[in-house]
Every structure is written in C-alpha cells, then in structure tokens.
Symmetry: none
Subunit: 532 residues, 2 copies
Amino acid sequence: MTERIHLFDTTLRDGAQTSGVDFTLDDKIRIARMLDDFGIDYVEGGYPGANPTDTAFFEEKRTRRARFTAFGMTKRAGVSVSNDPGLAAVLDAAVDACCFVAKAWDYHVHVALGCTLEENLESVRLTVEAARARGHEVLIDCEHFFDGFKGNPEHALAVARTAHAAGARWIVLCDTNGGTLPHEIEAIVAAVARDVPGDRLGIHAHDDTGQAVANSLAAVRAGVRQIQGTLNGIGERCGNANLVTIIATLALKPEFSDRFVTGVTPEKLGELTHVSRAFDDILNRSPNRHAPYVGANAFATKAGIHASALVKDPRTYEHVPPETVGNRRRVLVSDQAGKSNLLSELARFGITVDRADPRLDRLLGEVKDREARGFSYEAADASLELLARRTLGTVPRYFEVQSFRVMVERRFNELGELVTQSEATVKVKIGDQLMLSAAEGNGPVNALDAALRKDLGPYQSAIDDLVLVDFKVRILNGGTGATTRVLIESRDGAKNHWTTIGVSENIIDASFQALMDAVVYKLVKSGVTAVA
Amino acid sequence: MTERIHLFDTTLRDGAQTSGVDFTLDDKIRIARMLDDFGIDYVEGGYPGANPTDTAFFEEKRTRRARFTAFGMTKRAGVSVSNDPGLAAVLDAAVDACCFVAKAWDYHVHVALGCTLEENLESVRLTVEAARARGHEVLIDCEHFFDGFKGNPEHALAVARTAHAAGARWIVLCDTNGGTLPHEIEAIVAAVARDVPGDRLGIHAHDDTGQAVANSLAAVRAGVRQIQGTLNGIGERCGNANLVTIIATLALKPEFSDRFVTGVTPEKLGELTHVSRAFDDILNRSPNRHAPYVGANAFATKAGIHASALVKDPRTYEHVPPETVGNRRRVLVSDQAGKSNLLSELARFGITVDRADPRLDRLLGEVKDREARGFSYEAADASLELLARRTLGTVPRYFEVQSFRVMVERRFNELGELVTQSEATVKVKIGDQLMLSAAEGNGPVNALDAALRKDLGPYQSAIDDLVLVDFKVRILNGGTGATTRVLIESRDGAKNHWTTIGVSENIIDASFQALMDAVVYKLVKSGVTAVA
C-alpha cells in the first residue's frame, strides 16, 4: 500500500519574492496551467489584495484539476474577521483553498504582531473557521516553526494544534529563514506528529544551508504528507525547496517510490525536463546546466576516467535512467575524445559512419587539433555537427564571404557629443553573384551580424526567423593579445536552439566564425540546397 | 573537546571534469594558492601524466601549508608496481600525498577492470605500500562505494579494510554517481565505521539528487572526519559537494561547531564570500546570486511580508550573521548599509571622508547608478578608487582622448591568402599638444591598447612598465546587442596588480574605458602630476 504525498507549488507566491523575478498576469496564467497539467496538487497563485496583478489573477479560478490556492495572513489581532480587509480579499478570491501564514515563534508574536500568545491562537482559530465557513479548504503555514519550536515548543505546538482543531486540512511547518538542518527537521516533525497526524502536516523549506531538498525529504520520512516548493527552486535569498528535484527523487528512488505516490504520473514525469526548461524560458533565463535530473549536464560525462566504461554500460554510471525525467545521456567530446565517444555523438546527430571509415579518423584528428587550439565542442553541438558533415562531404557550399570590414569610431558629433559608431561591410558571393551589404550596430559584432544576415539572396527566407539569443566570450589566456573563444546561441521560430563556436586571436574573426556556423547550420537543418 | 574535520579540495581534479571548465597552468597555481591561504587541509591538484597541464603543475610543490595531493589510479592488475607508468607518474610527483581511486563495486571490478576481486584487493594493498615507501601520505578513494556496498557489502568493506591495513591515512567513501540518499549514507558509514575507525574515513559526494551537502554532513554525523568537495560545488554532471557551503555550516551551526573544528579560522571564514567570488572570476562566470551563505542574495530581502520586521530586528530573520562569512545584509529600503560599506572601502584605499560629507552621498549615488548599469566594482578596485578620487576632486586631468577609430578587415592579401588585420588610431590632447598615434594588433582591443600607450608624451616613462595580464569579457544579457562588461587586469614592474572595468553596449567602448582607467590609475599611483 502506497501513501499519497501532496505537492504544493508556491512558485507564483513565495517564488515571486525572488530578486529579479516579476511575473506578469500572463506569466502567472501560463505557469498555473503548466503546473496543473503536470499533476501538481495545489497551485498557490499569490496574495489577492497585495498588488493589482495578484488581485486580477484571482478573479477567476485558473486551474482545472489542481486546487487553486490564495495566500494571506491570519486575521489581525484586535479586529474582527469581518473588519479585516486583507483577510476579506483572500476569502473573496475565486479559489479552492486558502493558505494563511501564522506566527509560530513567540518572539515574533511579541515583536512583529505586538499581541499576546493567546490572541495569536485566537486569530488562527477564527481565520480557519471563517475560511471554512466560506467553503474553502484551509492551510495554515506556521512561520518560523522550527526556530519557534526551539525557543518555545509549547506555543509552536499550540499553533499547530489550534489550526488542526479548528479544521485546517493542512498544518505546514515552515523553516522560514532556512537555517534548520535535516536531522533537526526530522526530530521536530516527529515531535509534532505525536499531536497532529502526519497526514495533516506539510513542510516548507528554504535553501539557506543548501539543504532544502534534504530537509523536505527528511520531513517526509518523519511523517509529513505535503511538500511545498517552487519550480527550479526559485525564491527569496537562496530559494525555496526545488520541487523539480523532489518530484524526481520521490518517483525514482525505491526508498520513496515503494512507499509513496504523488499526482505526477510516470508519463508526466517524462515531461519534467521540459517543464523545468519551459519555466526558465518564461523567466527568460538560461537553464542551470548542472541542475539535478533536468540539467543539460545532469547525465553528461566529460572524457576522463569514466568515459570508456560509461560507453560499455551507461546504467551503472547513472543513478537513474535519464529518459525517465525526459533528459538524455551526453558523452562530451573533448580533449581526450575517443572514437566511441565521437560515434555516439554522431549517432545523436543522425549520422551513421562505419567505425573503420577513414573519414572518421580524419574527423577525430580535426576535433583534437581544434580543441588544442581552444575550440570546445562540448558546448557547441551545432558546430560539431557541421564539422562532421563537412568532413563527410554533405554540407553544400551555399555562399562565400569574400571579405568583410568592421569599423568602430568614437568622435564628437556635430552637436559636440561624444558618440561611438560601429559599422560593417560584408562582401558575399552566391553562385556568380557578388553582393555587398553594409549595416550599423551597437558594437562591432552586432554590426557584422546585421550586415551578414541583411541579404543572403535566395537563402534569406530560410534565415529570417533566426535570432541570436546569447553571445559569450572567453579569453583563453591573459592579455589583450590572447586567444578568444566566442560561443553564440541561436534560436529559430520553431524554438530550436543551437550553439556555435569560433576561436581566434581576433575577437572579430572568432565571432564571425560562430556567426557563419549559426547561419549555415540553420540552412542545413532547413534542408536548403545550394544555388548552382 | 572538539574533533578535527579535515577539508579536502578536489576543485583542480574532479572539478576539472566540469563541462566548460578548462584550467590553465596559471589558473591552477592561483587557485592552489588561494585554497592554501584559506586553510584547506588537502589540495588535490590533478592527475600527473594524464595531460601536459597536470604534469607541469606537479613539477613542483604548489602549497605552503596544505598537503599538496596528486590523484591517480591504483596499480593495474597483471603488472607490477614498477611496470605501471601511470602509477609512476603519480609517485614521482612533487607532492605530500597521493590519492588513488580504487574500485569498490564488484560489478565494476569485473566489467571495467576485468580482474578478480582478489586481484583488486592486491592492487590496493601494493599501491598503498608503494606510495608509502616513497614517503607519501596515502588516500584511497573507494569509487562507487555506496552502490558497491548495496550490491556486495563484503567486497566493498574488504577494499576499505585492505587500504586501512596497508597504511592508508584516509579511506574515502565515494558516492560516484551521486544517487545515494542521506539516510543511506548515514547507515552505510556507520556500518563501515565498525571496521575502520571514523578518523580514517572520508566522504566524497556528488549532487545528483541535490543533496551533496546533506550527504557530506550526514557522513560526518555518522563518523567520517574528512570531507572532499570543490569550490562552489563545481564538478561533473550536477557537481561535487560544495565546500563553501559545508565550511560555513560546520563553523556556524552549533550542532557541528560545538563538536568539530576545521583548518579555516573564524578570521578566514570572513573571507569565504571573497574566495567564492574570486574563484568565479577565474572561471570568468557570474557568481550564483542565490548560493547559500555567499550569494549576493543570500541575505537579501525583497520588499514583502518580512521586510519591515527585518528592519526591526534583522537577526531573527537571518539564520547566521552575514558578516561571519564576509557577506552582507541587503535590505532594499535602507541606504545606511551602503554608506558604511562605502566608507570602509574608502578607508581601505587610504581615503578618509566624513560621514556627513555631501560628496559621499554623490559618490554612493554614482556607484549605485553604475552598478545598476552593470558595473561591478567588487571585481574592479582600481576603477572604484579612481571614481572615488574623481568625486573628491583629486585626480589630475592628465590628457584627453579626443577620438579613436578601430578597423578590422578580413580580405585576401597579394599572395591570395585570407588575412585579418586590425588597426587603431587614437587622437590624444596633452596640455596644448595634439598627438595622433596609430598601431596594429591581433584584434581590435589589442590595437587600441597599443595605439593608446604608444606615445603619451611626458607620461610615457611612467607607464612603460605597465603590462596587461588579463582581459575578461562578460555579456550581461543575451544577444550580440547586449551590454558588455570588460575587466582588465594590469601589472607594473613592481608587481602591483590592479583591475579596471568598463561597461557599454559596445565592446570596444567598454574595453576603452577599462584601458583608460588602467593607465590613469598607474599615473595616480606613481604620483605623476598633470602637464599644465
């Protein structure tokens, strides 16, 4: 018999406290839908009344299956339930459940609320009853529960017991400042579970000691049956518990999967990587390549002591199969790249070559030679694929850049203002035709990119949807005369992403190589043929 | 009585497996020195014989206090100790200690080594004896120990016992694929500690379930007395255990600090944030703002339910005081923290200003404004000092750059070869005199630098010994049109180092700002006065 673990997502509420994160109404709607489809049990959408976005978001129910939840504070001491406008906004929201934060640390009751402990308990009781009377399911987030328990266990427990007795469905133990350690969590949860049944308890952890996931799982082991967290662990300071990591661990580690089940089906679990990255897309930030389970590198091995054994039997080097979370194995081609590595990379590109094909040795030699010069193909799949296809003779000669010139000038303009202007000229030969394009930009690479893609004649329509999304420069050794490595990430209208690389002593040359690869890769992938 | 926990850093060995990380010899030397100064007990430098960089790195001892450690594999089965060239390279290295990886999972002994379990134990024994005979301290990293223990506890334990009996100082239990959970770690370590004393045991954890820190600390609770990890948790896949987080937790959480002590003194702990960020600087990557303890946001609160209470009494909202790790509180409503910080920075430069001086407010406003635009003065002391001295009116107007022009051209030369040429022209006004200098370079910034420093007339002798030692470019947001931050590190004949910064949409402009600051800083520091 397995027990149910309930997943409570607070990305849109506590996650919105992340510095630099500012959800629009549209973002909130998209994220709530994604969480709902994925199988999350509770989607906490924000704090109705606290700001116009949250108020608008709670005008209608935004989930189909998940319980749509509003966050608020328990009734203020000294006013009645009907005279607390903050509370009214929460109770009036179009939700299935209300989650109220209550002070569980006596110190904060005195300092922040300025009321007695009795009044605090009374607030909890009246708030729970008021929300239940409106037909809402009720959760009580016990703020600073663990610090509170260490300081005054009687009051912390009284808050939990009061909420339970008043009919709250869940009493959530919050490690608000994130400083509690896993074994403390386990011991304190076990103590609480003697008063309040575990299937009414939840955990809300923060990552201030890098242990929010461990703390959440320790709480489950000690009895709680609800976990609160956020997508990719966003949140104030060091973040909240990362639900993505927790979901995978609950589903794939026998210790948990033998005893528990969540609302995320095995089929949905296969979308975990997609969900994590789609969320980063909405935030417009690069996914963490090293994220557990879902990072681009989570199942990647750089050639080294493990690579050849990994090729022999990948499973013993992977703690879970990458496909279960929708991720994939990557054997990185680098410095010590062997033939087996290269073959498995080529297979991923859909290129099959015989192990004895002499072109394979040529390609391997070329890769090693270029990596010795500073190329790093593990970060630039598209350039590796192009190099491979060129060696195998399957990349058309679409066009030839005969020359380019980039100029950056800083001078005083006619108004006496100091201005810097960048312009580039590119001469391209397509078939028999010579085309000269010029463009300005806000820097030399931007100008060169604009000139190169301004008019590629018959190919122009195939690259119209190409967008440069990232440009990275790394100097490989000291000084301004050093070798420069440029990585360019591109995207097209169909949301395909690819990364290309250029290396040169000259940053403009390096950028140009990466830009050229980005364009040619797009033409190859679009199945464009060369003009005669 | 406190017990000693030994810190073993493997940034330069296991951390070097991180995708995208490629240490130069100079990087390795700098990082080893930093770890040594910080109080790390063991600095594992790499794998002598595996590649030219590591071989060169091990030609001399690179630490003063820390044990300088080489990594290698135990003797191959079927050859004698003296006939194993890989082993010889490790034994011949200029080190204090050798750390050998041994297979502890019977499955891998059969599949990867293709030898018997007895031969495997024999390899361990002979390797330990050979290294001890050379006067080295010996560590045995038991690869896949936890998976091995679950599959065949007898063999896993036999490897640990054999290493111990042969005289290895440390037997390190490795969770190689990172999939083991904290309570499993705790139980298995406790089982091993019945055979091998805990003060001979170490833990080596990976972050594949987001619990490398929790696993390391669970192992300490169960008895191990050595922790292996990396700076900022870099490492293959999801990374190694983050030593930065672990060091802070051991030092600041009474559960650990009451029982244990490490080689990092409280004073050095105050440099933790600096060490973490300096390492990111070497990697040329942005520090993780959400990192536990050391992230820019680790003690930051966005206006929300906690902000006003935080202002009343910050300590109850912070799990540890930020100063203990050299970090600082950020409450977005208060300017006061900024002023105190700035005053202490200025004092460091030897500049004393009265707290009430209005120029201080102007400087603070300017710093905040520039940081909002992407400047990062934490990494560019010299530019901050110049900005401060300019606001206080003590930087002479040495010269004025009236205009510059940089051109990069790629074309076919008279021999039909494709060449790229970069040249720059700079017009400088010194006193009444206008000077035009032109120079070529192997890239636009190099050409600009050469032209600027070609002839500064009366100042030339003061900058003759100026050398640019590093040039770093970081793109602050996506696309080739993004804001660019350039950091330039310079050095003079007296081995003074200083770093300057420039930020602009245009990489050439940003580089120029940093170059100008580098030159002016040198003139100021040399006490040069301006030509009338």
